[in-house]
């Protein structure tokens, strides 16, 4: 089977520090309100006990991308390795993709009047470097995997993540493990 790459988000290692998000911004020097990667807090009681847990999400580079289908001007293409690319040149800023994406990934840039999103640092990867978020994470919580490989503990969803059946995202997750807690309100 051909190699299909995706993000493996290890929420057990993630400490919600936003370094990945800011590493992305640092790499591309984006407008303040543009956030290709976002660190979402998960419900405190999602994993037994209460804890501060997160899912760091960028574009999920879906197998069946809703953005691509919704785009009227073929601004989206899916590379052979699975990366969903968006062309600012072709984009007319109609926002159809923004409505179609279940993960609210494409963002509208008020300055360029066009949409933009994470391209998994395709150019960096093409020259043999890892994406900025991957190398920027102090916890090594984000990696690039071949989604056709079997990764121990990798799951297709986390609590709160939209139904993966809609677009078949390539992002995989490792669930946080919450330790024993001795709380005073028990």
């Amino acid at each position: 089977m051909a190699k299909k790459i995706g993000f493996l988000v290890n929420s057990d290692r993630c400490i919600g520090c936003h370094a990945c998000e800011l590493a992305c911004k640092n790499e591309y020097q984006q407008e303040p309100e543009i956030r290709w990667r976002k660190v979402y807090p998960l419900k405190e009681d999602s994993f037994g006990g209460f804890a501060r847990e997160f899912a760091s999400l960028a574009c999920n580079h879906c197998e069946d991308p809703a953005c691509l289908k919704a785009c009227p001007v073929i601004a989206y293409t899916k590379r052979e390795d699975g990366i969903v690319m968006h062309s600012k040149e072709r984009c007319i800023g109609c926002k159809n993709c923004m409505l179609a994406c279940p993960y609210k990934v494409p963002e509208f840039n008020q300055k360029t009047k066009k949409v933009e999103k994470c391209h998994m640092c395709a150019a960096r990867q093409d020259r043999g470097e890892k994406p900025a978020c991957v190398v920027g994470c102090p916890m090594e919580a984000i990696t690039i995997i071949n989604v056709n490989d079997t990764i121990a503990g990798a799951e297709r969803s986390l609590p709160g993540f939209p139904n993966a059946a809609i677009t078949n995202p390539t992002t995989r997750f490792i669930k946080p493990v919450v330790g024993r807690q001795v709380r005073r309100d028990a």
């Binding site: 290692r13 400490i15 919600g16 520090c17 936003h18 370094a19 998000e21 800011l22 590493a23 911004k25 640092n26 790499e27 020097q29 303040p32 309100e33 543009i34 956030r35 660190v39 405190e44 009681d45 209460f50 804890a51 501060r52 847990e53 690319m85 968006h86 062309s87 600012k88 040149e89 360029t112 066009k114 391209h119 395709a122 150019a123 093409d126 020259r127 043999g128 470097e129 190398v135 920027g136 994470c137 102090p138 916890m139 090594e140 946080p176 919450v178 330790g179 024993r180 807690q181 001795v182 709380r183 005073r184 309100d185």
Partner: protein, 731 residues
Amino acid sequence: MKQKSVVSRRTFLKGAAATVATVSFGGTFFDFIFSGLSPAVAAENSTVELFRNACPRNCYDTCAILSTVQDGVLKKVVGDPASTYTRGTLCAKGFSYTRSVYSPDRIKYPMRQIGRGSGNWQRISWDEAYTEIAQNMLRLKREYGSTLPICLNKYSGNFDIMHYGIEGMLTSIGNTTRATGTPCWPAGIDAQTFDFGTIVCNDPEDIVNSKYLIIWGANPAWCSVHSMYFVKEAQQRGCKVVVIDPILTQTASKADLYIQIKSSTDGALALGMARYILDHNLYDGEWLAKNSKGAEEFFSYLKNNITLEWAAEKTGIPQHIIEMLAREYATTKPANIWIGYGMQRHTNGGQNVRAIDALAAITGNIGKSGGGAQYAQLETWGFKYHAMSQSKPANSGGKEDRAININNFGAEVLNAQDPPIKMLWIACRGPMTQDPETAVVKKAFEGMDLVVTADLYMTPTVEMSDIVLPVTTAFETPGVNVSYWHYWLSLNEQAIKPMYESKNDVTIAMELSAKLNELEQGSCTFPTSGDLQEWVGKEFSEGIYKQFGIQDWQELKKGPVKAKSGLIAWQDGKFRTPSGKYELWSAEAEKYGHFPLPVYVEEMQSTDKYPLRCITPHWKLSIHSQFQNLDWMAAVNNEPHIEIHPKVAAKYHIKDNDSVKMFNDIGYITLPAKITETVSPDVVAVYETWYKNKKFNVNYTVKAIPADMGKKATGAPGIAFHDNFVAIQKM
């Protein structure tokens, strides 16, 4: 267009930093198709340079940074992979540095405010600024017979070694008044000074060798992200990670065992554990006999005064949990304790740290890889302090500098007599947001003849100043940095030219000196010129060269270096106490008014009127008043909140995001509620920071209550920031 040769980052790293490489950018296929730029528009033959920088913030991590500068513009920053501590990554704050440098909010030129707090600012030239400042300094000296009415408040905004030149500048005009002490950590420093003789910690990279790790009142997941990697690494190698904290912090969320302790009762837990260890013969008698003083007295105190039942009652932790913790800690070797700064910000904070230190001592965990009682270290700070070490001009009046307590700054300024304080110089500091009792601080500012603040942004402190001087960021000036936690030494190269009219604080000192001498020959000894790079070189001592195994400071241009020795604290068993032993019984402590043994001192209690303890820890997107004001951070979060337990919220009919007023005798703040199980029902948490254009300032409610210790090592006791009791109501 075919892809041109783009020099990869790896190629850059092979060479020394700051070597100029000429490469083609923007010509790749990818950029053409997806950037929206046409190849003709994209710049060709740009000059790209790499510089080594160091994050100078008041932070454990003091990261080594690699900065990419294209045609004189700072394009991005990454962690320097040459440091095995930073490991090529930064934190969210570090990654925001381009926005710090190029923020539209930078103060661009000197300004004078007509009417303090009025917002009526006028641009002035540097010469006008120096003239007004120098004239006031000389006038005050004439009127009062000395320069003592001039007060410096400088602390942790920039810990670059050369920035101690700010202190040097004040020395060079004569005897002055100095805000003395440190708000952050002094109680713990004194505690470890009584026990060990000073503060020294193991290399944090050594955490991976621990088999048992208690993180006690520290939150590295927010405040030392690079250490958190080593904590996780230890965990993966089989180390049990225990977090003891009144708040279920981010670090606690990742622990194997989280114990929610009643705030400020840490000493009771440590002493209860010690009693269990004593009763079950789990202590290291051999280590104690060889290395300690006062073990017998300490054990006698435990036997006569401490019970497990009492410890459970005091701390709110079930007795069987205390017993389990004590047994596991005493029998798993090596066992490590990381003592946080949060847990010592109490009226009994220093005593609590001493009790925790005692646990490490009686179990023989001190001086060992994977063991220890980690607090901080200043071992790598043995510089010459050339910029700081200035002489006082002859006949400038007064006998010596006058110290006032930085931790009660407002009141101390107002109370100063003979002579009174009439002028403030503020640098690397934001008392109007970071000090307790904001209203008193404001009153102190209002009584001044002149307030001069050197800063990057229009902070609330600048808003209360008469003259603001724009300063450079770390990227615009050379320097050298070490950490109070890890053992790396990093050069900070000047990567870009100073922005606008900004100047380094040392340059300001030189130029002010020239103006003072112009107006009154001999009134200031600070050199009136000098090359900043050369001045960095002058900070290095033979001791630093030896410790880091370098011959010349310029070698650091090739990358940061780590200390060659002293990475395991107290490995040689030579303690720096008066007895040369680890002192469970400290006559020095007694001299400073404490009980000589680590004993339990009662914690402060809530009252009927103010039933909730408000804890004000650090926030993950800022370090004190820095970073949260930047637009990139505001995009992630731009709203402070008060964390409230669901039971408390129900009692006050508060729902998520409801507006809540938190108040006590001295002030109030209003902010949205966050209902969360991460706090206990007797605690609310509000994270201290400065938001741009928001009225939020948690210190409106924080009183300047001194912590128990800090006087010996730092000149003034710390602040019991977390002994703040409040009431809340739904708005």
